[in-house]
Structure formats: structure tokens, C-alpha cells
Amino acid sequence: MKFINEANITFPSNSSNESFARMSVAAFVSQLDPTVEELAEIKTMVSEAVTNCVVHAYENTIGLVRIRVQISDSRAVRITVKDTGKGIEDVETAKQPCFTTGSEDRAGMGFTIMESFSDKLRVKSAPGRGTSVIMEKKIIKRG
């Protein structure tokens, strides 16, 4: 895949930055003239990945969340959300619908939503080292 544009955003894992993160990515992706629905899906994917950094990766501490958004010459968007938090023991189990290690405020639906809204989802994680979630989504050309 050949990337023709890229943006990088780094911020501390305060929950107030969840909305900043999804709005920023949506603003960058807007140059591809996505539909309202595509944009809503992108925002939701980012919200899920960033919230997981806030809630799970760093739990009661604050760490850095790094987002890279890349746009390819074939209108594919690749979003990488990276933390250096606690990591995931078993990624396949974590991705199952309704699986959560969180409190009753969590539904265990984050990965299911990210998977359903992206064309491709990859999770790289090492316990104690951190997690990268890489999501790709093609923005359909209109008109």
C-alpha cells in the first residue's frame, strides 16, 4: 500500500481526550469526502480503540496514546492506535463479543465494533509492553 498523507496525534490518556481523538481523526479523513455514515464509523472505531487505552492499558494511571492516520493512493485509511500499557494476554479471547476484564460499565463490545466497521483489524500486543491496534477502511469514491 502506498501512503500519500499522514497525521500523528499524541496525547495523555485522560478520558476527556476521547472526544478530541475521534474528532481529530474524522477531520483528517474528511479530505477523502466520506459519507456521514463512513465518518460516524471512523469516529466510533477511534473511540473504541482510545477508550481501551484509557480504561484497560493504563487503568488508574495516565500514559501516552499515539494515533497515526495514513491515507493511501487507493483511498484506504489506516488508523494505528498505540499504547505502552499493560498489554493483552490472549488477543483472540479479548476479541470475542461480550468478553471483558472491565467492570459492569463495560460491555465487551469494543473489538466487535472495531471489527465490524473496519475492512481489516490487526492487534499486536505484549503483556507488560503495550498494544497496537491497526484498522483499515476504504472510503468509497462518490459522484
Partner: protein, 100 residues
């Protein structure tokens, strides 16, 4: 982020704005306070003015569902914008909760 009306033991909670992890804790507290105060037979969550919702919204709804049904009450959802409906569909909330 919330207003409400009470009529004949039915509590309607009107939610406004973005429902994510950051906003959901306040919303949960306020909604539960209203449920405790009015002990409604039915609580209706109105999503008409919700502009964004992620998985935190699913847990919010499931939590209020458990709370209402534990006391023999009913929870209903109404006026879901398309983005909200899509998220709730993925969690199959409609199999558990009446959506109007």
C-alpha cells in the same frame, strides 16, 4: 446532558450530546438517581438528541435494564438516531429490550 419527565409512573429520560466513556459515568449517576427517586414502573430512554454513541452506551443501557427489571420494572428505548441504532444492533439489544 439529561432532562426528564414523569407521568403516571413512567419516567422518560432525554439524553443529549455524546455518549462515550467520558460522559457515561455522570449520565449513569443521574439516571439512577431519578430511578431511585421516582421508582417508576417503566423507564424510557430517549436518544433523539444523542449525537454519538459507542460501546459505553451499550453498557449504560444494559445496566439500567438490569436495574429496572430487578425491581420488576420495564426499560424501553426510543427515537434512536441511525448511528446509535447501528451500535445497539451489533450488541443485539433489541432481543432483550423493546425499542420504539
Amino acid at each position: 446532558m439529561l432532562s426528564y419527565s414523569v407521568d403516571d409512573d413512567i419516567l422518560t429520560v432525554f439524553i443529549k450530546g455524546e455518549l462515550d466513556h467520558h460522559t457515561s459515568s455522570g449520565l449513569r449517576e443521574e439516571t439512577d438517581k431519578l430511578i431511585d427517586r421516582f421508582s417508576p414502573i417503566k423507564t424510557i430512554l430517549d436518544f433523539k438528541n444523542v449525537t454519538f454513541c459507542d460501546s459505553s452506551g451499550i453498557a449504560f443501557v444494559l445496566g439500567r435494564y438490569k436495574r429496572m427489571t430487578a425491581g420488576g420494572g420495564i426499560l424501553e428505548l426510543t427515537r434512536l438516531p441511525r448511528q446509535v441504532a447501528t451500535i445497539f444492533d451489533l450488541a443485539n439489544l433489541g432481543s432483550l429490550i423493546r425499542i420504539t
